[in-house]
Symmetry: C2
Subunit: 321 residues, 2 copies
């Protein structure tokens, strides 16, 4: 349980999701985060389904104090057509059936929650976004001043010098709603992007899963169960049963828990065309041989690599969540 006096006020926007479940567990275990609210968006599963998964997971963790708000079901310029069931299972969390929490989402929407928390924690709120960026874009429309109120925004999304995961060049969160991502990157708040370049470097394997399954702590055990579905999918990518750590890694970066190796401030533009580059985070890394000297347009911190292995840190958190 975080010490709220010392902890950073956090709004989490997610599409829970197996990786999101790990990120939530990581944040719950952290002494550095005071999770003030969670908004959900469609992505891995529907916004409503993600809220249900989130509520159930929070109940399992004994954290019914954290409000959950449902956000946008559809993306800015296209409808949500179902989640990533082949990655995350039919219900978003690997088909694992959690005890149903009696709680319901709050009345405010996720964008409304973000706007409220930004005002209530002016200059302090850290936004962590690990799903499509639709809620953040809608929140900016509702109240553009939040771009000046929010301390920073950390996003799991994009791919810079590695392939994408839904197209050869696009990562799923950004590809689901490139127009929202463009609006979020163009806003005045400081943005840190944690792309596949970094998140594909950290893996959990079957030994880690066995340790989670052996835990008597309900969240750790549930995540161990969820990983089975994730492993099934990632066999196609890695040729072995492992799980990438996209979402919890972004959460850890947001909290300053990881020493960064390469994280230049560069210009990132989202491809919103309907061409083969749609959803790409077009990142200007041409200054890489000279330490990325500042350019006029460079505004986004792009985390290309971290300096320490994340899996042990994550496992320690999951086993105490």
């Amino acid at each position: 349980m975080p010490d709220s006096a010392a902890a950073l006020p956090v709004y989490l926007d997610c599409d829970t999701g197996i990786g999101d479940a790990m990120a939530i567990a990581y944040l719950l275990a952290s002494e550095h985060a005071a999770l003030l609210g969670i908004g959900t968006v469609s992505g891995n599963t529907s916004a409503a389904g993600a809220a249900r998964n989130t509520l159930d997971l929070l109940a399992l963790a004994g954290r019914d104090d954290i409000p959950v708000a449902v956000g946008e079901h559809d993306f800015l310029t296209r409808a949500f057509h179902g989640g990533a069931t082949r990655v995350h299972g039919d219900n978003g969390i690997g088909g694992v059936v959690l005890p149903e929490s009696p709680r319901h989402p709050v009345a405010e929407s996720a964008p409304e929650m973000l706007v409220r928390l930004a005002h209530e924690n002016a200059g302090q709120l850290r936004v962590i976004a690990i799903g499509p960026l639709t809620n953040l874009a809608i929140a900016l429309r509702l109240d553009p001043t939040i771009a000046d109120l929010v301390a920073d925004v950390t996003i799991m999304g994009g791919a810079a010098m590695v392939p994408g995961n839904v197209t050869p060049v696009a990562e799923a969160n950004v590809h689901n709603d490139p127009d929202a991502a463009a609006a979020v990157l163009e806003a005045a708040w400081p943005v840190t992007l944690v792309p596949l370049d970094t998140t594909m470097q950290s893996l959990l394997d079957t030994d880690d899963r066995d340790r989670l399954l052996a835990s008597t702590r309900p969240v750790a055990h549930a995540i161990g169960e969820m990983l089975d579905t994730y492993f099934d999918f990632y066999v196609q990518v890695f040729g072995r049963r492992v799980s990438v750590l996209h979402d919890p890694l972004a959460a850890a970066v947001a909290l300053g828990d990881l020493e960064l190796d390469s994280a230049p401030i560069v210009h990132v533009e989202i491809d919103t065309t309907n061409g083969p580059g749609r959803g790409q985070t077009v990142s200007d890394l041409r200054g890489r041989f000279r330490g990325h000297p500042p350019t006029e347009r460079a505004r986004t911190r792009l985390v290309l690599s971290v300096a320490e292995p994340f899996a042990p840190k994550l496992m320690a958190a999951l086993l105490t969540a």
Copy 2:
């Protein structure tokens, strides 16, 4: 002088250019290449200027037997607006004034030359393209059967998992005429793409330049002089006086002179939108953890790295050209 019985018949398409000059010198020095004709295209300089540079370089090498054809001045969907003078100097070859050859370009155009050579060397002709791909696209329009007649096409162009050199994601040759590149990649001939991923790995430095300038052989000496301009430009990229070896590296790959390290057959699509990805070689490398298993659409051999340093091989060639 190549032994034409053993040597591979080659058509070179180029935009001479300092790197092109190195590639021509490399091909002239090779025992594996019988350079049957050279076509020029606008890019580093105009198609006409590139032909003049090529004729003068061939004269310097004592190889007035090789015909030079001028090709397309403009790109498929836009006009040529001047060359890369800040990279290659005003005349394309670093401002170096070569003795003017009395020869002129042949009457046929570069695309016509390619079509003729494809028929005359059916099943044998190797096409090496180190400029924008306009001439190859026009040749395919003139006679689509050349796609079945040409043995293979090796292209210096594109960027897969490294930044581009004219935009964050696009390399100059492809970016100059993405529509032509798309047509060339879609044709039935086998295509090998040598992108910046590989060509940025091999560099010449000031010691190499000094050795070229000390040579009594006129081509080597002239290239040493040209490198001064190239070095001036690349200081902005690398922070030191070096030259990349884009074009000669592609020529060496085409001749089979280099052991390849990673060269998967993958699907490559050209971004022909007007978005931020225009001119990108969108390369599907998502199978990289499993050795790039074949996919239905995979047709392009993408040379991501070579297994040996190229600079020493190139220097040896240049010093005998």
